[in-house]
Symmetry: C2
């Protein structure tokens, strides 16, 4: 793999670990290597723009790592935003892109709003179905602020993503009702339900509490990322794990992403926007709490706090991840 690309991919994984998103950090490295070994990732991709207008582009990632192509696509979006106010890039023929926030936040130093989303292997059953049809399809919006940290909304459109199930599995606990259903579509609190053929539930959890909204949000991400770019969508999205083969009769190429950048000063002066972002943030922090020892959390605030903490104290790695990385290093003959 090209050294610059390797360095960029490492930076994306490290950012996840720094921000406390341990499920998307170096713990994924051996998974990427297995994808490479099974021929599912092109480590020397010739990604290129296959279609464009002044404010848009479609990128063929040539089977490369999403970790690498998504930041490049953000660069294209930022360039176009500089030229015409906003830039939007839909990406086909890619692979898992890590944390959405890394890509969206690339827009912040330019005083732009950053947007990133991706489709993913099908694990989520739409309302009324027991079939896995959508990925956890995350959406991220990053907004610059003034004296405060940026507001970074980064959410999977399932009630709970797989990483949360894994935490429950490790501690042998059950999960709250509303996260998963069993293979027959019944409510379940079994943290192992996905391994037994069950499915994650869309944000909203049940019909009564509007799971069709989470399904609708997952659909938006799927269509912008894949139907618009020419990638696979719905149940055809190739699995992230190398031991599962992609299904036949695929309608597109690889998985899809959608990223965007909007220049703040394409709408109003940057100083005005940042002043009001600060006022928004300060006011929400002061919202009356339910309990005196709580307060409203600003989207992105816990991740910035964790980053600060880990910058000082280091990143605590799970022993299983360390073992995994050690085996990988030995296999690839690398110094540790």
């Amino acid at each position: 793999m090209d050294e610059n690309d390797a360095s960029l991919a490492a930076d994306v994984l490290l950012a996840a670990d720094m921000r406390g998103i341990d499920s998307h950090g170096v713990s994924r490295l051996s998974g990427y290597v297995r994808l490479y070994e099974s021929g599912r990732v092109n480590m020397k991709p010739g990604w290129k723009i296959i279609h464009e207008t002044p404010s848009t582009a479609t990128v063929d990632a040539d089977g490369g790592l999403g970790l690498v192509v998504a930041p490049h696509a953000m660069d294209i979006a930022i360039r176009k935003a500089k030229e015409v106010g906003t830039g939007w890039v839909s990406i086909q023929n890619s692979n898992h892109f890590g944390i959405a926030a890394y890509h969206a936040m690339k827009a912040l130093p330019y005083d732009m709003i950053g947007i990133a989303m991706t489709n993913a292997s099908p694990l989520v059953a739409p309302t009324f179905s027991k079939e896995r049809m959508l990925g956890t399809n995350p959406i991220c919006y990053a907004f610059p602020a003034g004296k405060n940290k940026p507001v970074v909304v980064d959410l999977a459109t399932a009630t709970a993503a797989n990483g949360k199930l894994e935490i429950a599995q490790r501690s042998g606990k059950s999960v709250p009702a509303g996260w998963v259903q069993d293979q027959q579509g019944n409510t379940s609190i079994d943290a192992d339900e996905l391994k037994k053929g069950g499915a994650l539930l869309p944000l909203g959890s049940t019909y009564q509490t509007s799971s069709y909204k989470g399904y609708g949000l997952g659909a938006i991400v799927d269509i912008l990322s894949a139907v618009l770019s020419g990638a696979n969508y719905g149940p055809w999205v190739p699995p992230f794990v190398a031991f599962l083969d992609p299904v036949n009769d695929q309608p597109g190429k690889g998985i899809g992403h959608f990223v965007g950048a909007m220049r703040v000063d394409a709408f109003r002066p940057v100083a005005d926007f940042k002043h009001h972002m600060d006022r928004w943030i300060d006011r929400f922090k002061q919202a009356t709490p339910v309990h005196a020892d709580q307060r409203v959390i600003i989207p992105g605030e816990p991740e910035f706090a964790e980053e600060q903490k880990r910058m000082e104290e280091g990143i605590p790695l799970n022993p299983k991840v360390v073992e995994d990385l050690t085996i990988l290093a030995q296999k690839l003959n690398l110094d540790l």
Copy 2:
């Protein structure tokens, strides 16, 4: 009011009634009239573009009806999309804009993806708070398809919008847990909870089932609609009902909207996109249902079915709405 504007506003309300969104149709007319009578709506607005780039614009609605300015803003977005691929318009100093789907769907005849969102009077308490800080802040995305009807995802970012509570109130029923909390922040199933100082819950309902995601989505809408345009945001958004005065020390003007249009052929040929939209729709309709008598519903499908039905059978009006309209007509000396 200008006759063209009046006709356009009527068209937006009628579209809601045709699509079965009775809470946003002619039942709202007397509310708009009361806003006018209290001097809160400018019926002869000189709305104008106050800032623009090739792909963006900011519009000052001059205190006019959102019903009127939002379609004009969509026209601007569509024009910009024709020129540079996408168009995005943030609107300040507006009022309630009716159903988001009307505005987003304006893009469909041009083979564009339409987007519309708006902030609204604060009724939703963010996670950990008992204070109403956000509106039901809807998001709508409309995607053109080929042989199938378009996919129209239109959702409030609260678990349930106020209209659903009103239906429960009329039938004297309780509401499901997860829709509202009482004034102290406790879970409640009382359909009248909002009148007692309680709040709607964000999509996700509780912390355990990720209400912070619904709060995050509501925040995205609030920021794009109001912090970006110069409108009021968060708890400062003026109330829709005329008998409540706007709060003091407002940070912006009126309420805010955000609309957009993306040319499909700015990303890939229209025929390819529509072919794959059809395949997406057909595949989701075939997803294995939990019960044999159910199937997965495509976003927007129930509204298209209702529109077809009401086109044939007429719009059933609630007797209270008829009475309301009759009183209004008498007061304004109009023939019925």
